[in-house]
Amino acid sequence: MNLHEYQARALLKAAGVPVPDGDVAATPSEAEAIARRVGGTVVVKAQVHAGGRGKAGGVKLARGPAEARECASQILGMTIKGLVVNKVLVVPAADIATESYVGLILDRKTQKPVFMVSDAGGIDIEEVAAKTPEKITRLPIDPRYGLLPHQALQLALALYKDWSQAKAAMQILRQLYGVFMANGCTLAEINPLVTTPEGKVLALDAKMTIDDNELDRRPDLAVLRDESSEEQSEVTARRANLTFIKLDGNVGCVVNGAGLAMATMDLVKYYGGEPANFLDIGGSSNPEKVVSALKIITADPNVKVILFNIFGGITRTDDVANGIVAATKQFKVDVPIVIRLTGTNEQEAFRILESVGMTAMNDMDAAVSKAVKLAGEAA
């Protein structure tokens, strides 16, 4: 789960990391009030889960409260990479002497959180990483011992030559590590970490990703999810315990298992089609889940055909068949359904489907190519 900048900033601030004054606003007049309070020139920043906000016009400079109101009214409601902006962050415009990058990432290879810091921070950090990786200092942290003083020192000295700035950075690194661990993050970064002309060190922007697997045991983190910034179909799917990701194609897919779901999408593409979604109904599925899945998929007007690909292991294929029958009784499905079922209880499943005049197939390739063909005919 990605946090908005204002949420990440709040967690850092609570841990003691110096951040600029300012606050989040949902309306232009709130933005105006914040600008009035902080005074001077402010930056109005779209709060949205998408990179390249600046280039998309989602970050604006405002000289005073009136301009802040104006900027906020322009940004609020705009769409960046398909996502609507519902909130803006209003902060004083900072004078910047240097920009650094400080990130902490859960690394698969070392199986540890790894710090990445660079004194070449700012918006071009990905380019720095790609072209001059030697400018980035990487340091894995053993969570059994935490961030040790000499490690914080080593990282801080990679950022700053000035001793008082290095000491400030050590403190910020410790706080960032604390926030990462305390909130079950898989990523936490400050970019840029700036110094002001007076030599103060300040976290100007922050990004955080929380491990979805933490949310069940951490209701305090789960409430940070901003469903208004998500695809509504994905929100609905999550509430039905389905893993669903909307895509742009026209072949709706219902699959059990994440790997098989991806492979099914790939095979749709292989046979010349385009998948409309990723959808995993999970292992121990029941008929109601199938009903929910069909509801979500049929709500997408792009979908021209629905493809079931179920390999019954734990999943009972008769459960799936019953779900399909139940759904088609509850609401009308206007597009053709291609069904591939194999494995546990498949004979019973075939019988159930045949009893309502539906047919199923046994082979994945045959089912996928048929679905792609039907989608092509409907388009």
Binding site: L106, R108, K109, Q111, K112, P113, E126, D142, P143, R144, M181, G184, T186, D211, D212, N213, E214, D216, R217, T243, I245, L247, V255, N256, G257, A258, G259, L260, A261, M262, A263, M265, D266, L267, V268, K269, Y270, P275, F278, D280, G283, S284, F311, G313, I314, T315, T342, G343, T344, M364, D365
Partner: protein
């Protein structure tokens, strides 16, 4: 036995009285596996299905039954503790089926297990099966048959799909291992590939990867330098968008890294036979195994 489990496996099931644990324990026993004990704290002294003694702790189970392998079906928040308990109880092979284990938990579980010399498979994995001998986890025994192909995969049902094609075309399996779809897993491709290379019963290897991370790329390098047996491979997620978690916590393309194209390219340069579709496994193996 082929690799890691076989006729000598004495299995203890952690979470045996839970919904998933009891269901899969029955399946596992039906597959001929020697399930010697179960563990559910507070239910020590009971008999599961009138046959399998249930203990409060793994240590008690090991002492009473000589269990040498554990499978875990406890809820996600208890999974880290269960893995550590199994390791501390002296179990050398622990298979964690539980899905949804917080990844930070795994950062301390891994060194704990390493200190005790425990091999972990998973979490969030279907486990493994040596057809005809033993199964530990949830891979359906019905789709497998004994043979000479070793299979390793990050996925569950996609594995079954491939095994299904193998069995249908006459290729039996030495051992099938599902290593799991999480960012941190106890056993990676390389561990399994090495075991298959060293296993005289395995003559060819199927590797099924997916998007996210660099495990497949590292495995490809390892294949090039170490493996003397034919390998064929698939990568799921060619059509996955960037930055989205495709079900598995580990299946996410970050920036430009972890794509299926990148992984297929690594396979290609390591001489691994490329499966564009799951069904391709059959023809590729036929060409490589005379």
């Amino acid at each position: 036995m082929s690799i890691w489990i076989g006729k000598d496996t004495r299995l203890v099931v952690q979470g045996i009285t839970g919904r998933d644990g009891s269901f899969h324990t029955r399946q596992t026993m039906e597959a001929g596996t020697n399930v010697v004990a179960g563990v559910t704290p507070g239910k020590g002294g009971q008999l599961f299905d009138g046959k399998v003694p249930v203990f409060n702790t793994v240590a008690e189970a090991v002492q009473a039954t000589g269990a040498n392998c554990s499978v875990i079906y406890v809820p996600p928040a208890a999974a880290a503790g269960a893995m550590q308990e199994a390791s501390d109880g002296g179990i050398p092979l622990v298979v964690c089926v539980t899905e949804g284990v917080p990844v930070l938990d795994m950062t301390t579980v891994m060194p704990y297990l390493a200190e005790r010399g425990t091999r972990l498979i998973g979490p969030n994995c279907p486990g493994l099966i040596t057809p005809g001998e033993a199964k530990v986890g949830i891979i359906p025994a019905s789709i497998c048959k004994p043979g000479r192909v070793g299979l390793v995969s990050r996925s569950g049902t996609l594995t079954y799909e491939v095994v299904h094609h193998l069995t249908a075309s006459g290729f039996g399996q030495s051992t099938c291992v599902g290593i799991g779809g999480d960012p941190i897993v106890g056993t990676n491709f390389i561990d399994v590939l090495r075991a298959f290379q060293d296993d005289p019963k395995t003559e060819a290897i199927v590797m099924i990867g997916e998007i996210g991370g660099t495990a497949e790329q590292e495995a490809a390098e390892f294949v090039l330098s170490y493996l003397r047996k034919p390998v064929v491979g698939f990568v799921a997620g060619q059509t996955a968008p960037k930055g989205r978690r495709m079900g598995h916590a580990g299946a996410i393309i970050s920036g430009s890294s972890g794509t299926a194209d990148e992984k297929f390219a690594a396979f290609e340069s390591a001489g691994i036979g490329i499966m564009r579709r799951p069904v391709d496994v059959v023809e590729l193996l036929k060409a490589r195994l005379k």
